[in-house]
């Protein structure tokens, strides 16, 4: 115990260099580590945040699992729903949907879109439309038409059915809540005839959604299921269901179970499958960014090493006299290694705090200047996510490199023969 106290006493005296608060060399070494750690914290928060935002936007827009059947589902809808509910205890909600591919035509401009018919009563339990609504009303937009859809002919309806459009579409076509636009979809001719005939339908913008991803925002239009079925001339037809589970991580297991239970005519896609390559790319990118930014910590560790080398060389005579007083080589090695670790730990703690402050500054800058062009990064806004695992990893890496950097000078001091140290004046 006395030895530990002696160590701590001597280490802090050496770090303070007597009565001074902190030496400049030491401050620079701490700052170097702090900057490296802060950079790593911010970089990891950005990449983790990108990954989480990506996952969130995919889940919010597609649900955890999509069940599909080639050619769609009509008669067996109730039966399958019952089967799914029985087979998936993790299920929180499921909602049917119908997708129609088409073109939006507005003010002499057109663009390919996906019109998705969703069930107003259950869609909110699976997809987070309320959270993504930036203008108008999500529920109103879907429900207002549902009453009229069944009774009034679409084209003849005085009030066109309401639809929710993505922010990208709204900007591209300058659509605001209340504006009307046309959709054109291909309708399959009867079996005897080949090809398609076009069908046009007017819609009214009930709300604008920010789905978080540029490709979704420029493509998706939502309306209620009955409207879509009527427009597509596909009564009682759905493309499939979207499922919401308790946890994101349950998707793969549940999908496998469903594949087994529903038979080969059905297939499932999880939120991971939907963007597999992108998630993989983000994972690799995170590892690469970690290694690259970590080099800053390695460079800072060299700074710690040089500071300690200087400290050892300046104290050659002191090491000699300490050894003459009965200090062992192990004691000397520990004396300088602990100094390195203290510099590393101080730098790391400052770096973590600086990094967290940097994250807030980054978020502010992102909101103010839009650092992520949606067309490039797919996401229009990235929430930063500071994961405890990332912080522990950074802490571990920084301390490890500071320890390594301290070892060489500490060993040099420890190896010094007392008589060699005493020759220095």
């Amino acid at each position: 115990m006395n030895h530990i106290r002696l160590h701590i006493w001597m280490v802090f005296r050496y770090l303070r260099e007597g009565r001074r608060f902190l030496s400049l060399n030491l401050i620079l070494a701490v700052v170097g580590v702090a900057l490296g750690v802060a950079s790593l914290v911010i970089a990891m928060a950005v990449v983790s945040g990108y990954e989480s935002t990506l996952r969130m936007t995919v889940v919010n827009m597609q649900g955890h699992i999509v069940i599909l059947k080639h050619g769609g589902i009509e008669t067996e809808r109730a039966e399958i729903e019952k089967k799914v509910q029985g087979a998936v205890p993790e299920l929180q909600a499921m909602t049917p949907f119908l997708v129609l591919e088409g073109l939006i035509v507005h003010k002499k401009k057109l663009s390919g879109v996906a019109l998705e018919g969703v069930e107003p009563g259950t869609v909110g339990l699976v997809l987070s439309l309320e959270k993504t609504l930036i203008d108008g009303d999500a529920r109103l937009g879907l429900e207002k038409h549902s009453g009229a859809a069944g009774s009034v002919a679409m084209e003849a309806s005085e009030t066109p059915p309401a639809a929710l459009v993505g922010r990208g579409l709204s900007q591209k076509f300058n659509l605001k809540v209340g504006d009307e636009f046309r959709l054109v979809i291909p309708i399959t001719r009867s079996r005897s005839q080949e090809g398609f005939r076009p069908k046009t339908q007017k819609f009214r913008v009930g709300g604008v959604l920010d789905l978080g991803r540029a490709d979704y925002d420029e493509r998706y239009i939502l309306t209620d299921l009955a409207t879509a079925q009527k427009f597509g001339e596909l009564p009682d037809r759905i493309s499939g269901w979207r499922l919401r589970l308790e946890k994101d991580s349950q998707a793969l297991g549940v999908a496998k179970r469903l594949d087994d239970q529903l038979g080969s005519s059905f297939w499932t896609r999880t939120w991971i499958d939907a963007n597999h390559n992108l998630f993989q790319a983000v994972k690799y990118e995170k590892a690469i960014i970690f290694v690259i930014v970590m080099l800053m910590i390695v460079a800072a560790a060299f700074n710690v090493a040089s500071t300690l080398f200087l400290s050892v060389v300046r104290r050659y005579s002191q090491i000699g006299i300490l050894k003459a007083m009965g200090v062992s080589a192990v004691f000397i090695q520990r004396l300088f290694t602990v100094q390195g670790l203290i510099v590393g730990a101080t730098g790391t703690i400052f770096g973590l705090v600086l990094g967290l402050i940097g994250c807030q500054v980054f978020l502010w800058a992102e909101k103010k200047y839009g650092l992520f062009p949606g067309e490039v990064y797919k996401l229009s806004f990235v929430q930063l996510e500071v994961r405890p695992t990332d912080l522990f990893l950074i802490l571990g890496v920084a301390l490890f490199f500071c320890y390594l950097s301290a070892l060489a000078p500490a060993k040099r001091g420890a190896k010094l023969l007392p008589v060699e140290g005493l020759r220095y004046e």
């Binding site: 002191q318 006299i321 009965g326 192990v330 008589v419 005493l422």
Partner: protein, 224 residues
């Protein structure tokens, strides 16, 4: 006569510098008895300091051995030698070698704390010694705030804090003016008497040397 406290047997020390071998000590023998005061004299480069360092286990002989109370120190490991230096030997050097980061009393406390003595006990011992050496008022001063004589007296106090049997001093007055030199000489002999120390001093100072009952002269690595 009792057995010698330290024995140097046939010690040779060879240094290699720039590929050339320099034989500093050539088959030197020496016996030191308890409570003895020995002075080692000789010209620069005669091997006086090297012999003192080997005697204090700060350096290892190339050949030969050093015994302490019959124990062959040349065979001991670094840890055991560190413990031996802490418990049995006190060193005083020409250039004082006080640790600049520590106050006078802290410098004196260090060997005791290294030896596992509690901070409180070490402080009591250091305070007592500094008072004995007339440095009570300077105990909280840092080395940069002390004069040459005060430096050396703090170094003596530090050498004695573990109550060693042997005090080894390498040119302890070499860096001091006449008055301070005289004070340190007085101090050495009064401490020897009071604490029953064995004193081995390397010096150039002829006046200081005359006060020792046993004087040994080294010349070119041999006893002269």
């Amino acid at each position: 006569m009792s057995d010698p406290i330290m024995v140097v047997e046939n010690v040779t020390k060879v240094y290699e510098r720039g590929g050339a071998k320099i034989e500093v000590l050539k088959s030197v023998d020496l016996e030191i008895y308890s409570n003895e005061a020995v002075c080692i004299l000789g010209a620069s480069g005669a091997g006086k300091s090297t012999l003192l360092h080997i005697l204090g286990t700060l350096d290892r002989p190339t050949q030969g051995r050093v015994l302490h109370n019959g124990l062959d120190l040349s065979r001991e490991g670094d840890e055991a030698l560190a413990l031996f230096r802490n418990r049995e030997i006190g060193f005083v050097f020409q250039f004082h070698h006080l640790l600049s980061e520590f106050s006078a009393i802290e410098n004196v406390m260090l060997p005791a704390r290294i030896g596992g003595v509690s901070e409180k006990e070490a402080r009591v011992r250091a305070h007592k010694l500094l008072t004995l050496l007339g440095l009570e008022a300077r105990k909280d001063h840092y080395p940069t705030e002390l004069s040459g004589g005060e430096h050396q007296r703090v170094a003596v106090a530090r050498a004695l804090v573990q109550e060693p049997k042997i005090l080894l001093a390498d040119e302890p007055t070499g860096n001091l003016d006449t008055e301070n030199s005289r004070q340190i000489q007085e101090l050495f002999f009064s401490l020897k008497t009071r604490l029953g120390l064995t004193l081995v001093v390397v010096t150039h100072d002829a006046n200081f040397a005359t006060r020792f009952p046993r004087r040994l002269m080294l010349k070119d690595g041999h006893w002269n």
